[in-house]
């Protein structure tokens, strides 16, 4: 306990950058090469062009060294404001919202948003306009995703958001999506990893963006020093050397450096927060509908499968009871997240389930185990005398279950079922890991884009409550209604 406290203190001290001779920077090594990745030769170290840019900035700031802090890519902005590190990098995009909320450096790399398609589709698809009705994958909360959202309304394509930049390309090959829109260096890396001919990168860029460093809003002075260090690195060729070493140098970088050094780089103005909120409302409504659909369908499946499992455990012969018990224990004993991955990615070799169906299956089959235990307990809670009275009246076992035991068990099961449904409503947020954009995911995207969790978080909470409170009310009313029959007049 004491040791743990010391460890926490030590970590906190590190995070706050107590040692001013070290530049502490944050990035996501899960994003991988060429940005930041664990060094294969020494996995405790990181390497990548962003690592070298950070080191170059540290030298420019006359710091002795740069130290890396791992942070989830989508949380870089929040982390830097919290003071976990001084500057966030690793493919951080220059967006109006980010500029409005944080201190953002000069752009130091220009990327192109490029489309990747399967080789056989190369002739048919030349740009986003050719993707009406098709599924197009990208990373959530990026410029590319915003671009796809805009095209959803104009072109009619279907944006599919991922949490990582590996699965969009494997899903492209397996046919789950028809195109991937991502930064050209991510596309090139994926192409190399998959053997060089697995898909085709279309030459025409759908958009152009820039990587920047992000600092806490209050840290504008340090940001200005970082900008000076970046300009110096552009002037003395050290930045070019870094990019050449990682094979990402091209003439557009030279042009960018020139514009930066001439001071003619322009950045877009941010949308006013109120306008941003209004702009996101339709997406939130759509995401809430997805959450409701996933939850209701999953619960329906959970109830049906749960009833079957419970009946098997109460009425079945020995081996059926054993099989149902194994199912319940395995499902309850392993993480839902793992089950989602297994059903969506693990089974992809056998059956390629659409993401929505996989989400409903995984949630439904997971909750079925919990429902089964509720129903089993409820069935066993029905008094034996009730069942015997039914037998003396000549009811068959099936009729007893249908007419007497089942209806009575339902009353016992109602309250825990309502609890489970409310829990499922919230657990449905997990399905975003298999590309289903539901309420929480949409809120995270929203929050990243407006650069704050306050308004999106409140909106999201309101929508969840609006969905779960009526259910709890309905359950209470039913219980009261039945409860009336349970009290002496």
């Amino acid at each position: 306990m004491i040791a743990a406290s010391f460890l926490l203190l030590a970590l906190a001290a590190q995070g706050a950058g107590a040692d001013s001779s070290t530049l502490i920077w944050g990035g996501d090594a899960e994003g991988g090469a060429p940005f930041v990745e664990a060094d294969p030769a020494n996995p405790s170290r990181v390497r990548g062009f962003d690592v070298e840019v950070a080191e170059r900035i540290a030298r420019g700031l006359r710091r002795r060294s740069a130290r890396f802090v791992q942070v989830q890519w989508s949380s870089i902005d929040q982390s830097v404001e919290r003071g976990d590190f001084a500057i966030g990098m690793s493919g951080v995009e220059d967006t109006p919202a980010r500029r409005a909320q944080h201190a953002v450096t000069l752009p130091y790399f220009e990327f192109r948003e490029v489309l990747a398609v399967r080789p056989q589709d190369q002739g048919r698809i030349q740009s986003l306009a050719d993707l009406r009705g098709r599924r197009v994958a990208t990373l959530g909360a990026t410029i590319a995703y915003d671009l796809l959202l805009a095209q959803r309304d104009s072109v009619g394509l279907i944006p599919v958001s991922y949490d990582d930049d590996v699965h969009p390309y494997t899903d492209l090959l397996s046919g789950r999506v028809d195109a991937v829109l991502l930064d050209h260096i991510i596309a090139q890396r994926a192409l190399r990893r998959l053997g060089g001919a697995a898909f085709v990168i279309l030459p025409r860029a759908a958009a152009v963006g820039h990587y920047v460093g992000v600092l806490a809003r209050a840290n504008a002075t340090l940001r200005d020093s970082v900008d000076a260090a970046l300009r110096e690195a552009m002037r003395d060729g050290s930045l070019e050397q870094i990019f050449r070493r990682w094979e990402i140098w091209d003439e557009s970088q030279g042009a960018l450096f020139e514009r930066v050094l001439r001071g003619t780089v322009t950045t877009q103005a941010a949308r006013a927060p109120a306008a941003a909120v209004v702009a996101y409302l339709p997406s939130l409504a759509r995401a809430a509908a997805v959450t409701l659909a996933v939850s209701f369908l999953s619960m329906a499946l959970a109830v049906i499968a749960g009833l079957t499992l419970a009946s098997a455990r109460v009425y079945g012969p020995g081996w059926v009871r054993a099989a149902a018990t194994v199912y319940v224990e395995v499902v309850r004993g392993t993480p839902l997240l793992l089950q989602l991955f297994v059903i969506y990615y693990g089974l992809a070799g056998v059956v390629r389930l659409p993401a929505f169906l996989a989400a409903v299956l995984a949630l439904g089959l997971n909750y079925a185990a919990y429902e089964a235990e509720i129903y089993r307990g409820a069935l066993q809670a029905v008094a034996r005398a009730q069942l015997e009275a039914a037998r003396t009246l000549g009811f068959s076992e099936l009729q007893i279950l249908r007419l007497i035991r089942g209806p009575q068990a339902l009353r016992y099961a109602l309250a825990p079922m309502t609890n489970d449904f409310v829990a499922l409503l919230k657990d449905s947020a997990l399905v975003s890991v298999i590309t289903v954009v539901e309420l929480t995911k949409q809120t995270a995207i929203f929050a990243t884009n407006v650069g704050s969790w306050v308004i999106p978080g409140i909106l999201c909470a309101i929508v969840y409550l609006a969905m779960s409170l009526p259910l709890a009310r309905l359950a209470r009313r039913l219980e009261r209604h039945w409860g009336l029959g349970g009290h002496a007049a």
């Binding site: 005398a385 009275a389 037998r391 000549g394 009729q399 009575q408 349970g486 009290h487």
Partner: protein, 219 residues
């Protein structure tokens, strides 16, 4: 032999102990037989064996030509003739908690004996009127007093018109006035030609309203 129920040398063992040993009795149509004895002598066990809720180890039970033998309880599908002949009123009534009084009475008529709803409702109304609980037809079981619940339980057991009615400790929850009213009801049922076997430890009630009293020896 004109007995509706005949029990011959009934033996029930439980956990290596004789709960019942060598019980023999007969109940004829129109007759009320009281099965007496202190708690634990196997009165309820005998009723449960006759209603085929319990396996027995020795002897034979015959209800109006339908015989039960030692060994496991047969599946319900083979017990249909017995269910038609025997009604059982439980000590705690065991009314279906999720159904109102009327539905408690009509449920078996509709789903086991395939009567139309109107016919089942008519039967229920008639039985509830006879037993003086018709005004409670829409009440829930737990809104009933002990006496009311018992009369509803009798109505439910009588709905399929069984010729043998078994009752387990019918006076347990009744005040003296209600006891004699129940006695009159039972006499009335016997008068219709039914056979009644009543397990009770209420000697006064047994003497007052039964035709014969059979006392089980303790142990």
């Amino acid at each position: 032999m004109n007995a509706l129920l005949s029990i011959e040398h009934l033996g029930v063992r439980y956990d290596g102990r004789d709960v019942l040993k060598g019980l023999s009795l007969e109940v004829s149509r129109g007759e009320i037989v009281a099965l007496m004895g202190p708690s634990g002598v196997g009165k309820s066990t005998a009723l449960r064996a006759v209603a085929a809720l319990l396996a027995f180890d020795a002897g034979r039970i015959v209800v109006d030509g339908f015989a039960l033998s030692p060994g496991p309880v047969p599946p319900e599908s083979e017990l249909v003739p017995l269910r038609r002949r025997v009604g059982l009123v439980f000590q705690a009534h065991a009314l279906f908690e999720h159904l109102n009084v009327r539905d408690n009475v009509t449920l078996a008529l509709r789903h086991v004996w395939n009567k139309a709803r109107t016919e089942a409702d008519e039967t229920a109304t008639r039985l509830l009127e006879t037993l003086d609980v018709a005004p409670r037809a829409a009440a829930w079981p737990r809104q009933l007093s002990g006496g009311e619940a018992q009369r509803v339980a009798i109505a439910r057991a009588l709905a399929p018109d069984p010729q043998l009615l078994l009752m387990d400790e019918p006076t347990a929850a009744l005040d003296p006035a209600r006891r004699s009213a129940l006695g009159a009801t039972l006499r009335n049922l016997a008068g219709q030609g039914r056979a009644l076997l009543i397990a009770t430890h209420d000697a006064e009630f047994a003497r007052a309203f039964s035709d014969r009293v059979l006392t089980l020896p303790p142990g």
